[in-house]
């Protein structure tokens, strides 16, 4: 077996940039958890402008889409936190 998925949960501290603000989290968290830790519970705005956040937690509801390192429509619940990651949500306007 070649891949090493066990290497994941080491819990190293990393620095993210969420809507322009620095956020310290650790690598055992996914981006959804990191956003929750920062109290930023708006991943996207719905077509009628409502704030939306993760519903299913496992990658099918598509409610937690954010922009990660310039890539739009990434699912926060399926993205692992990496040092220097730049995350942009649609929640920026509400603050």
């Amino acid at each position: 077996m070649q891949a090493d998925p066990d290497a994941q949960d080491t819990g190293q501290a990393v620095l993210l940039l969420v809507d322009g603000r620095p956020l310290m989290v650790d690598t055992s968290m996914n981006v959804l958890a990191a956003l929750m830790a920062a109290g930023r519970l708006c991943a996207r705005r719905s077509v009628s402008g409502e704030p939306r956040f993760g519903l299913c937690g496992i990658g099918y509801c598509q409610e937690c889409r954010v922009t990660i390192d310039g890539q739009a429509h990434r699912l926060a619940c399926q993205a692992r936190c990496r040092d220097g990651m730049v995350i942009v949500t649609d929640g920026a306007s509400q603050n």
């Binding site: 998925p5 299913c56 496992i58 509801c61 619940c77």
Partner: protein, 433 residues
């Protein structure tokens, strides 16, 4: 991503209990097996988060054995988006597209939650029940947050237990089924599945006096930029409870999209399989929740049987008996916790049912079927492709709403373009010659 081959004799899709058991059985005599999953870590949902978070011994046993087999290849973070040719899958690796040609395919696509619409369910902080569990495994810090767990089914107890263990405060567990029905379920467990009863009692004891409301119905979530409270009806009275998170689950649904895509027959309970877990399509097997909700023991037993069958062997009598026992538990669950028709009432005419396109129940209710509703309202045509609202509409309106189209998950144009050479390369070559 060099580890992922472009051709494989046996591909197992999904690395939850069924997929791990299937890969384990199929590879035990040296056969090459490629196991892929859309999550980075193996384990599926029940064993989510990878080996370092597993508490179940069978997960470690399977994974340790697989790791020791050089002929087994695991690739996580890979999502199936389409089937480009008869035996070729198009995968989105998050880092470009890949094709994977298979000879034999074992589908272990698992399940998702039935999420039912009610006023306020679109507020941030309202999640599925299993969803909150997944978020906790993904590192969500609760730090004393107040959580209400609601809906129906034994999963609620598991989630409530996790909330407490992970530092949250359980404001209430609100189960839709009444005390008498729960007692009947417990009686059946005592008779036929004593191990499960012990597990349930442990979880129940773990509630440590937090309110366990039976016969309770979620009526609405209230809040502004996030959920602040939930309105429940309990014993004819309305109760409002403050909360930071509301986790609502109404049971599980089999993920049948991939099977449909590949032309396998699908029934109301999941992908149709025979006693060897073979689907209606030659060379394709299905195991675990995708072929019928039944829990982890059933998934392990079916995965093993599928892995054996895919390599020309048959299960022993003992293995078949294990499956029979596990299936009985699945049947008991289905009978005891199927969402009751009364839950249709929690969706009000003004409730958004399709969250991708913001379509309200009243806009849908005038249609006769799912197709008409989709064409006129765009419900089910957004990013989730009806995985949430289609299932809700099946429950609310009795529609058949499980159509599947490619790509079966949203993906980048670049990934789809990755599929193009297969169709377009030939004429291009001709021109060059």
């Amino acid at each position: 991503l060099s580890a992922l081959p472009s051709k494989a004799a046996i591909v197992v899709l999904g690395a939850g209990p069924a997929g791990l058991a299937a890969a384990h059985a199929a590879s035990e005599h040296g056969q090459r097996v490629t196991l892929i999953d859309e999550n980075f870590a193996p384990g599926g949902q029940i064993w989510r988060g990878g080996p370092s978070r597993w508490r179940d011994r069978s997960a470690h046993v399977l994974w340790r054995a697989l790791r020791e087999r050089p002929h087994v290849n695991f690739q996580g973070g890979v999502r199936l988006v389409a089937s480009t040719e008869a035996n070729t899958l198009l995968l989105d690796t998050g880092n470009g597209a890949r094709h994977l040609e298979w000879e034999r395919l074992i589908l272990c696509a698992g399940a998702r939650e039935l999420l039912l619409p009610f006023p306020g369910w679109t507020l941030p902080g309202v999640t599925g029940a299993g969803a909150l569990q997944a978020m906790l495994k993904g590192g969500l810090p609760l730090d004393g947050a107040h959580v209400v767990v609601a809906g129906t089914g034994p999963l609620l107890l598991v989630v409530a237990d996790s909330v407490r263990r992970m530092g949250g405060r359980l404001a209430a567990l609100a189960e839709h089924r009444g005390t008498r029905e729960l007692a009947r379920f417990a009686g059946q467990l005592a008779l036929h599945h004593p191990g499960k009863l012990a597990q349930a009692l442990r979880l129940f004891a773990g509630l440590k006096g937090a309110p366990y409301l039976r016969g309770a119905t979620v009526l609405a979530a209230h809040g502004d930029t996030r959920v602040r409270s939930v309105l429940l009806r309990h014993r004819g009275r309305e109760v409002e409870l403050e909360c930071d998170f509301l986790a609502c689950g109404f049971g599980l649904l089999p993920n049948t999209e991939v099977a449909s895509l590949l032309g396998c027959e699908v029934g109301p309970a999941g992908v149709l399989v025979d006693a060897q877990q073979r689907t209606s399509r030659a060379g394709v097997w299905a195991a675990g929740e995708a072929s019928g909700i039944g829990g982890v023991d059933q998934a392990l037993a079916q995965g093993r049987i599928a892995g054996l069958s895919a390599t020309g062997r048959t299960a022993t009598r003992a293995e078949l008996q294990t499956l029979t026992r596990a299936r009985a538990f699945g049947t008991l669950l289905a009978c005891s916790f199927a969402p009751l028709p009364a839950l249709r009432e929690i969706c009000r005419p003004s409730t958004l049912v399709c969250r991708c396109e913001d379509v309200r129940a009243a806009q849908l209710a005038v249609h006769l079927d799912w197709r008409s509703a989709k064409l006129h309202t765009r419900a089910g045509m957004g990013a989730c492709q009806g995985r949430v609202c289609g299932a809700a509409c099946e429950f609310l309106f009795g529609w058949q709403a499980r159509a599947v189209r490619q790509p079966i998950f949203p993906t980048s144009a670049a990934t789809l373009a990755g599929a193009m050479p297969m169709a377009c390369a030939a004429p291009e070559k001709d021109e060059q010659q």
